[in-house]
C-alpha cells in the first residue's frame, strides 16, 4: 500500500479494485477522514471508476457518521446524485448527518430549489420549523408562493411565520390563507406588527383572506394589547378601513374581552 505517512495516499485509491477492495477502501477513507485529510479528489477519482461503490461507501448501510464525513458527502454530492435519485439521497444524507442535517438541507435547497421532496426533507430536518431554511433561500424566486403553499399544505406554521417576519413578504400569508388557518394568520399579523418596520399587513390580509379580515385583526389586537400594547396604535392605523377593529380596541381599553380566536 502506497501511503502518505501511515495513511493511504490518493494514488493508492487509483490502484485498488473498487469492488473487491471495498472494505479496504472504507477503512482507508475512515482513517483519512479521521486524520482530517482532504478526500474529495480521491473519492471523485474513485467515482470515475465505480460510482456505485462510492455511493455504497458514503451512504450505504455501513456508512460512517461524523461531521467530517458529512462534509465529504456534501462535497461529492453531485457524484452521489448520479447513483441515486435526489429525494432518497438527501433523506439518507440527513439521517447520517444527525445534528448537521441542516447543512444537508441547505445543500439540497441550493441544488434543487423547486423540488417537491424538499418539503418532507425539511419536515424531517427542521420539525416544527419546517420550511424556514428552504423558503428563506428561495424568497427571490418566482416559485416562492408555490413553495410557501406546499409547506402550508403540509402543515407548516411556525416556519412560515418566521419566513413572513424575516422576508416581510406577502406570500407566506397568502399560503396560510389558502389553507384557511385563521389562528396562524393572527400570529403572523402580531409578529409582523411587532417588527421594527411593520409591512402593510392589514392590506395584505384583505388581499389574501377576504375584504373583511376583522376577525383576524381583532385577534391580533387582543394579543398585542396583552403582550406589546405599544404596537396597538400601528395595528389600528392599518385597520382604519374596518371600524369594528377600533371598536374592539375601545372595548379592550375599557377592560373588556376580545373575541376568543386563540
Amino acid at each position: 500500500m502506497s501511503t502518505s505517512g501511515e495513511l493511504p495516499s490518493d494514488q493508492w485509491f487509483s490502484e485498488v479494485d473498487p469492488r473487491t477492495d471495498i472494505e479496504a477502501i472504507r477503512q482507508a477513507l475512515a482513517q483519512r477522514v479521521q486524520a482530517g485529510m482532504d478526500n474529495e479528489a480521491a473519492v471523485r477519482a474513485l467515482a470515475g471508476r465505480d460510482r456505485v461503490v462510492v455511493a455504497e461507501l458514503i451512504i450505504g448501510p455501513r456508512a460512517l457518521r461524523s461531521p467530517a464525513w458529512t462534509h465529504l458527502s456534501l462535497a461529492v454530492v453531485d457524484v452521489l446524485e448520479r447513483a441515486l435519485s435526489p429525494g432518497p439521497l438527501y433523506r439518507r444524507l440527513a439521517d447520517l448527518a444527525e445534528d448537521r442535517s441542516v447543512a444537508v438541507l441547505e445543500k439540497a435547497v441550493e441544488r434543487h430549489p423547486d423540488a417537491g421532496w424538499l418539503v418532507p426533507l425539511s419536515s424531517r430536518v427542521e420539525g416544527p420549523e419546517m420550511g424556514k431554511t428552504h423558503l428563506l433561500a428561495v424568497a427571490g424566486r418566482a416559485s416562492f408562493l408555490e413553495s410557501c403553499s406546499a409547506y402550508a399544505e403540509a402543515g407548516a406554521r411556525r416556519g412560515l411565520l418566521r419566513v413572513a417576519v424575516q422576508t416581510r413578504r406577502i406570500e407566506p400569508l397568502a399560503a396560510l390563507a389558502q389553507v384557511a388557518d385563521e389562528r396562524a394568520l393572527v400570529l403572523a399579523t402580531v409578529h409582523l406588527i411587532r417588527a421594527e418596520h411593520p409591512p402593510p399587513v392589514a392590506a395584505w390580509l384583505a388581499a389574501v383572506w377576504g375584504p373583511d379580515p376583522t376577525p383576524i385583526l381583532v385577534g391580533a389586537l387582543a394579543l398585542l394589547h396583552a403582550r406589546v400594547p405599544g404596537r396597538v396604535p400601528i395595528l389600528l392605523e392599518q385597520s382604519a378601513r374596518w371600524p369594528r377593529v377600533a371598536l374592539a380596541a375601545r372595548g379592550l381599553s375599557a377592560g373588556g374581552h376580545s373575541e376568543p380566536i386563540l
Partner: protein
C-alpha cells in the same frame, strides 16, 4: 305583506395568489332601506393602493344615508351610490379603474333591486336549494369591466333569495363560473 329579509351580497375571489386584492364589501342601513355591495376596484395596484381604493368604496357606501335626499328609497340609494362611485372615478387614475366591478343590492319596503357592472355571473341562493343564475348570460346586468359611462339600470327581483353571489370579470382571466365547494369561503367570507 311583510317583505322578506334582503339578501346578503358576496363576490367570489379572483384567480391567483391574491384573490381579494382590491375587493370590497359593505352595507348601510337607512330608514326602512338597506344597501349592500360587493366588488373590486384597484386590483391592478399593489396591496396598499388596492386597499385604499376598496376602503374608499366602503366609506362611500357607509355615508350614503347622509348623502342622499331620500335614504328610505332604494332607488334613490342606488342612484346616490352610482353618483358617488362615478365621482370617485374622476379622481382615480384610469389604469386603476380598468378592473372595476360591483354588485349592488338595494332594498326598501317595496322591493329589492340589483344593479352592477363588470359581472360575469350572478347567482341567488336560498336555504336548502342549489344556487340559481339570477339572469341569463346576455342580460345587461352582466356587463363589461370598468366604470360605466352612464349609470347602469337596476333590476327588481321577483323572488328575494337569502344570498346573492357574483363572479367579477377579470382583465386577464376568463370567467370560471360558479366555484365548487363552499361558496362563502370562495367569496372570502369564511364562517
Amino acid at each position: 305583506m311583510k317583505m322578506p329579509a334582503p339578501p346578503s351580497v358576496f363576490a367570489f375571489g379572483d384567480a391567483g395568489p391574491l384573490p381579494f386584492l382590491g375587493h370590497f364589501r359593505a352595507e348601510v342601513a337607512g330608514p326602512g332601506s338597506l344597501l349592500r355591495v360587493a366588488g373590486r376596484w384597484g386590483g391592478v395596484g399593489n396591496a396598499m393602493e388596492a386597499c385604499a381604493l376598496a376602503g374608499g368604496v366602503e366609506q362611500a357606501v357607509r355615508r350614503l344615508v347622509r348623502s342622499v335626499e331620500r335614504p328610505d328609497d332604494r332607488v334613490m340609494m342606488l342612484r346616490g351610490l352610482w353618483a358617488e362611485l362615478m365621482e370617485m372615478a374622476k379622481h382615480t387614475p384610469a389604469a386603476m379603474q380598468a378592473d372595476f366591478a360591483v354588485l349592488i343590492m338595494a332594498s326598501d319596503g317595496r322591493g329589492v333591486t340589483v344593479s352592477g357592472t363588470g359581472l360575469a355571473g350572478c347567482w341567488s341562493a336560498t336555504h336548502g336549494l342549489p344556487p340559481q343564475p339570477v339572469v341569463p348570460s346576455a342580460h345587461p346586468l352582466l356587463s363589461g369591466l370598468g366604470m360605466p359611462p352612464r349609470r347602469p339600470g337596476g333590476m327588481t327581483l321577483n323572488r328575494v333569495p337569502n344570498v346573492l353571489f357574483a363572479e367579477l370579470r377579470h382583465p386577464m382571466v376568463p370567467p370560471r363560473g360558479l366555484p365548487a365547494g363552499d361558496l362563502f369561503a370562495a367569496a372570502g367570507a369564511r364562517r
